[in-house]
């Protein structure tokens, strides 16, 4: 199988490619409607600003193709900003509309902690999470962000993390997956999570 990585400009596309190459998964970079239409699995990576990502998706008319791909069951993994973009809106760019595939809003992390939340933090997955299968409990993952979704009233949330407040660390809903941390930078635990996604996508 081959994973389509959405290449929306400034991003960690190369890191994600390298992480997948290390577990022997081939990838292709894409930003076109056609590429999304024929994709068999999609990763939306992201670092930077919410507005830059959402605008890049709009400029390439990817909203509808992404919705269609997810509706037809294509496994989809949003990473960091790629997870945040799935929600309805974000404090980082309040006037813009997110992809709205997940209910809820992305908020700024509380300012009493050092920001960005950058470094290795413990993630608390719910039992039965498919992404976290085989990963030791209390494992550390690498985070680098200042915004996150609140886990309140979200049936999709399968893992949380705490930094100033509790926030969404991972979501799963059918073929839709998202993680706030960077599995491609999270050592052995991150590699296992990517392997789990690939297995679910196969």
């Amino acid at each position: 199988m081959r994973i389509t990585i959405i290449d929306h400009g400034p991003g960690n596309v190369a890191s994600v490619e390298r992480a997948l190459a290390r577990i022997s998964i081939s990838t292709e970079r894409a930003i076109s409607e056609q590429a999304i239409a024929r994709a068999t699995a999609v990763i939306l990576p992201g670092v930077g600003h919410f507005s830059a990502l959402v605008r890049a998706l709009d400029e390439n008319s990817l909203r509808a193709p992404l919705s269609r791909a997810i509706a037809r069951g294509v496994p989809f993994l949003g990473i960091c900003l790629g997870l945040q973009a799935l929600y309805e809106s974000s404090d980082e760019a309040p006037v813009l509309r997110g992809l709205g595939m997940l209910p809820g809003h992305v908020s700024a992390l509380p300012a009493q902690s050092k920001l960005p939340h950058m470094g290795w933090n413990r993630v608390h997955p719910l039992p039965g999470s498919r992404l976290f299968r085989g990963i030791p409990v209390e494992s550390y993952f690498y985070f680098a962000h200042s915004f996150a979704a609140s886990p309140i009233a979200s049936a999709e949330t399968v893992a949380t993390c705490t930094y100033g407040c509790e926030f969404v660390a991972a979501i799963e809903r059918g073929n839709l997956f998202g993680v706030q941390f960077h599995p491609e930078k999270s050592g052995a635990a991150g590699a296992q999570l990517l392997r789990n996604f690939v297995r679910l996508a196969a």
Partner: protein
Amino acid sequence: MTLARRIIPCLDTDCGRVVKGVNFAGLRDAGDPAKLAARYNGEGADELIVLDIAASRDRRSTFLDTIRRVAAELAIPLAAGGGILTREEARAVIQAGADKITVNTAAVDRPELIAELSGEFGAQAVVVAIDAKREDEHWDVRIRGGAVSADLDAVSWAKQAAAFGAGEILLTSMDRDGTQTGFDIALTAAISRAVSVPVIASGGAKSPAHFLDVFREGCADAALAASIFHDGVQSIRSLKEFLAEAGIPVRLPC
């Protein structure tokens, strides 16, 4: 709840090789950067920093190649820098595989560079490196490889750098660098208390107790060392086991 304290090996490179020196001088070869990177990745390093110590324009392509070779070995974040002056140069470093860029002299010369980089790559990708040297009752910022005084107070400059959009401060004590007498605790604590971004302490590490001190007393978020790791004097794994035993939150490799 709390972030793990990070242990960061640093690779000072020149012409595609890792070099090391004492007090910013007297360089000698310490190995292949990609090989060392692979070893540290496996031993449980939390991040890696690669610096181009010569930072000369004509060798830039060699440095980018070093970044590519190192990044290929890592499943952890990579910061890279040395002589980055512009957004274009920073972009090349990021595209070569770095997650973060470090800037030093160029940021002192033109602090707006920090805001430009932060705007394009996000604050999490911008590390401002500060070389500080004690002068009477304060710490003076040194630039151009430590050779010249910037005539700035290190604490004020750190605050200013954070205000311009730095996501992290890499703080090197020039008084301690290469001496293996321990981190400068007073300097690290002063900067760490002054800014709301993470501080990486650097310079002077030898024993595990030095790391414990800089986390406990120096309030460092991360600690960096080079030669003690390169020489195999200290393994990252046993260092982390020591810190965990002492109650410091660290990520133990499985």
